[in-house]
Symmetry: C2
Subunit: 674 residues, 2 copies
């Protein structure tokens, strides 16, 4: 049985090799004419500069974390932490490098060969990222586990505890990257839009706008690098969540089962990518959906076979409950996958212009900015209902068929095909960037049409990926939370206890505080950006006429500096709070705190993601010619909504998912000390 | 000892008599010239029409509730329910009747005699409401308790259970009134502003705007009648929360103690009102503050004396903990009062133009609508931090010195001087209405200056009252929640249990769903209003030039119909959910649900109240001449923020406080049946 773990490791390596192969493949496409190369060069340069400065700051925290964990726990945990941080950083870096190569090549492919070839390049670029995330994520985890088990001769449960250090490393980087990248991209985006679109009627991605390059850099450092680290974190922590309980109940068999299931997911994702292709005038949306569904199908079949042959024993239960069937783990996985798909569908329902909510927001834009905002807020709030019911029902079902282990496995099931989901998600910003490059290098209109089509599909797939990220965050946090309770030896975390309920209330508040910090940061940075853009239009004569080149680097520097400065406080809040509460008020209060942050955090994350998505698409719907189209009063109001949604959906919202898990992982690791 | 309860009842009657005396006094002032009388008549007529239609609908639910409670519990509970509903309705009605008489008299007093006389009339009108709320609230409770104890010969604990029916009746009316009144007033307000201020540059309260009368009616049915029922509910349920635990621990002595403390609060409030007067050019703010602080001082002294002489025994504890000192109850009351004052201060800090947050929102209005909204959202979110820490710390402290009883008493302490707080709060809309009448009847400018001054003070005091309402809702809900746990016999509500955690998540979602429903309702109703206003300006020639009278009654009818239709769904959600969850998923899941709604509900309530207040005052700050003043681009952006904030701070936010307590009270009453 033990040798099976090597198969899982082998599948992870396959994913990395596949990613390397695709990276070479992307590079083999034409990178376009000199103008394209020049613009792509600016973007690449800005992105690299940001990431290297960001990583230099993060490294300090990795070193601090290393010594902290060494002192508090063990050298093994500390080393696992560093490996997790490193692999998370690598996944982000690889994704971003690929994206900054693939963007110009996608634009050029659209120009020279049309839709299918452009989709091909963009999706290959996305797949490099997708495969890196799952490949590095799983590989690192297996390395840590094997070393802990064999070199340090630890039992499965203790070995997984070491592996939680790996997860913590990944989470820490993810939080910094998400917050930093999110502030970067939204400061540039909001700044560029407010001066460009609203004040001066300069269209999106126009080279006359000094913040255009910063905006495009932002797509790469926020939506690609930040998202890559984020999803590696989600992926790893879902596995840790399930494996921790698996180890407690079934020993190493439980851990190996989870790792094999993850491996099956990787294989399914690889196979799924082969289904993504489209004809000359084909519909990329269908093609991407087909790939996603095929991956899911393979994953279901594979999980069934693995569960059947593992024939996992009824656990000794320690009084909790019993698995009603040996196929319980399989059912739990299916529940997770189903909940994930359902949440994705609901996200689409609330954020797509095909359905009534976005149409209503567009209509409300006719009566002004305020009614647009009110409708968007109410839509986002209402959009929490079905995902939450699905999560609640899903976790009850998963618990019925698989106990706490089932809840953990549901999260693993939801993220099993993350290789595919991330590929589809990462393709979006590449297509978006390709559009920007096409615009800036003044390519033919038909190119922009193709990239716009690819980009709009990307918006929907991004909503799907966000749905998976939120759903899995909730289930993973629930599983980690249960593990926390077991580790602290708390048989109950009693809501009637005044410490627990105080912790709960304060935890709920933390999610609001964290959100306000990140939103304020974007606001502050965007303001600096607006001042700089206005200054350039004022001081550099001829920019607006296209006779002078704006100083792009100044805007890039503003985004970079602001993001790096502003990412520290929210990230530290997430790390330090559970430590302080745990030591000062004890494990029960900390349990309440974690549950409080979990609830309001999920709620705010769904609200923000869907409000933002709905505002964005209401604006696109109006731009498509409804309610007066571009330039109308309704359009102006819809741009306000879109801008308000930017920091919510791309900075605060996604970072909340990490916040929840990071706090729980920190608590889990230090549980024994409280 | 038992006869002391009659003293409490006597003090309640004193409050009612004092209210009646002041009502006569208000009527004795001049109601102004014919034009004033005509306009005030419109407002009175609209308000009466709405309230009588609203009450006719509510009566159906009272009858249903009566039979429901009779079947489920007992005829005694059912009758108590009807009495609670009736008294809550009376308090709202009295407040509104007084307000619609006092508004024209305040304007006329300002015109004929200046500031002091105007403050006098407005504050006397507010005091009628404040005294009615506490008088009827406490009197009804005592009647129910005495009948249950003497006629039905029940022990203290069972008698208080009957009294919980009284509280439920009050809560039900409060929820309907708050939601209905809130939708009414904000539909009119948003509609009037969006067409009047933004599209046509017609100032606030201009008689040319067809929605002006509806807007002024709204102040009376929402901010006065709705608020009156709301605070009666808060007041009664805080007493019930403490008395339930008091009865369990100390028998009838515990109940009487709580009732006497409430009586002391009433006496302190009455004494406090005598300190509210100001000179010809005096500052009404100082005068109102002085009254509030004097009430608090009397209350502290009185509570000390009562606690000292009651010398309450250490409770037998049933294993929970022991009162460390016989003065514990007094300390708990002080903690509650201090937390209330602290939250009020924080509310002011985040929503007053004297401090940096409102100034920042005003500044962000310069860069556009979107940055105004973003800053307001972030401000509201951050404003949750200190109130929540205060509530958490306060409940820990209160628990330390008084156990669960202490938490209940802290809520009673916070609302002890509600007689004064409500008087100060209700004076605001009277002054606001007086300003509207002065404007519409074209009184001299100096009158508007006086009423504006009174109104702006009212805005701050409203924020203070909201702070008290939120803080007491949190503490009361905590106390009721503990009582619920005791009643269901649940020794623990275990967060590790999958039913509890699912309940917790779903409960958290309910607060978002409830908010989205009420916000959507305002949006829908406002849209109808906007269409009607535009239609009138189009179809009735000469309105804008002031040559034709708009059809006010159409707008009044739209607000009335929408409010009555839209208030049903959210109110039913609040009542039915706990019943369904309790019966289907059991008491533990329901416990989780209540805790979940409690946390996200408080968080959203604070966020909405303070975002809304900050947007409102940022607009006023700009109108005072900053950032370009009235008519500037910054001003337009700030009007957007103010309008977005309207449904948040005056409809959804306050209704959330009631939602939390109503759900808990329903659960508490039905606890034995799950």
């Amino acid at each position: 049985m033990g040798s099976l773990i090597y198969i899982a490791g082998f599948l992870a390596i396959i994913a990395i090799v596949y990613a390397m192969y695709l990276f070479k493949k992307v590079l083999s496409y034409s990178s376009g004419n000199d103008k394209v190369k020049e613009i792509a060069g600016y973007i690449k340069e800005g992105a690299n500069a940001f990431l290297s400065r960001e990583y230099r700051i993060i490294i300090i925290f990795v070193i601090l974390g290393f010594f902290g964990l060494w002192l508090a726990l063990s050298i093994a945990s500390a080393l696992a932490f560093v490996l997790g941080a490193t692999f998370s950083g690598i996944a982000g870096l690889v994704g971003m490098k690929t994206a900054t190569e693939a963007n110009s090549r996608t634009a050029t492919a659209a120009n020279n060969h049309g839709m299918n070839e452009a989709l091909n390049v963009a999706f290959k670029g996305g797949t490099v990222m997708g495969m890196s995330v799952v490949g590095f994520g799983l590989l690192g985890l297996i390395i840590v586990y094997l070393i802990a088990e064999n070199l340090f001769s630890l039992d499965a449960s203790t070995a997984i505890e070491i592996a939680a250090g790996y997860s913590l490393g990944a989470s820490t980087i993810a939080l910094f990257s998400r917050v930093g990248g999110g502030i970067y991209t939204k400061a540039a985006d909001v700044g560029a839009d407010m001066v460009g679109k609203i004040e001066l009627d300069v269209p999106e991605d126009d080279p006359r706008n000094p913040a255009t390059i910063a905006d495009n850099v932002g797509d790469n450092v926020g939506d690609v690098a930040g998202m890559g680290s984020d999803l590696l974190e989600s992926y790893v922590s879902s596995i840790i969540g399930a494996a921790t309980i698996g180890a407690l109940w079934f020993g190493s068999q439980g851990v190996i089962f989870v790792l094999i299931i993850a491996g099956v997911g990787i294989l399914s994702s690889i196979l799924g990518t082969f289904f993504v292709k489209t004809g000359k005038n084909g519909n990329p949306h269908h093609s991407l959906k087909l790939g996603t569904y095929m991956s899911a199908l393979f994953f279901v079949i594979g999980s069934f076979i693995v569960t059947y042959f593992f024939n996992i024993k009824q656990y000794d239960a320690s009084g909790l409950s019993e698995l009603p069937s040996n196929m319980g783990p399989f059912y739990s996985i299916i529940v997770g996958l189903a909940v994930g798909l359902f949440i994705a569908f609901i996200s689409e329902y609330y954020t797509s212009e095909k359905y009534k909510f976005v149409k209503e927001i567009a209509k409300q834009s006719e009566t002004g900015h305020a009614t647009n905002i009110i409708a968007g807020i109410a839509t986002g709030m209402q959009s929490t209902v079905f995902p939450i019911l699905a999560i609640a029902l899903g976790s009850l079902l998963a618990f019925e068929v698989g106990g706490l282990f089932g809840i953990g496995l549901a999260a693993v099931g939801m993220l099993g095909t993350a290789g595919m989901t991330v590929s589809v998600d990462a393709y979006g910003p590449i297509a978006d960037n390709a559009g920007g490059i096409a615009q800036m290098s003044k390519m033919d209109d038909h190119v922009r049409k193709i990239t716009d089509k690819l980009d709009s599909v990307g918006n929907t797939t991004a909503a799907v990926a966000k749905g998976f990220a939120i759903g899995s965050a909730a289930l993973t946090a629930l599983a980690l939370f249960s593990s926390y309770a077991v580790k602290t030896g708390l048989e109950t975390i009693n809501l009637i206890n005044s410490h627990v309920i105080s912790g709960l209330v304060v935890g709920g508040m933390l999610a609001f505080l964290f959100s306000s910090m990140t939103i304020f940061s974007v606001g502050k940075a965007a303001n600096k950006m607006i001042d700089e853009i206005r200054r350039q239009f004022r001081d550099i004569p001829g920019i607006l006429e296209g006779n002078a080149t704006p100083d792009y680097s100044k805007c890039v520097a503003i985004s970079t500096d602001s993001a790096l400065k502003e990412m520290l406080a929210p990230a530290l809040l997430a790390i330090i709070t559970p430590v302080v509460v745990g030591f000062v008020f004890g494990p029960a209060a900390l349990g309440g705190l974690l549950a409080g942050t979990l609830i309001t955090g999920i709620m705010l994350a769904i609200f923000m993601a869907n409000s933002g998505g709905a505002w964005d698409n209401a604006k696109k719907y109006i731009e498509d010619g409804h309610h007066g189209g571009k330039g109308s009063a309704a359009h102006k109001a819809s741009v306000t909504g879109d801008t308000v949604g930017d920091p919510l959906k791309d900075t605060s919202g996604p970072a909340l998912n990490i916040l929840i898990k990071l706090m729980t992982t920190v608590s889990l690791l230090l549980a024994a000390m409280f």
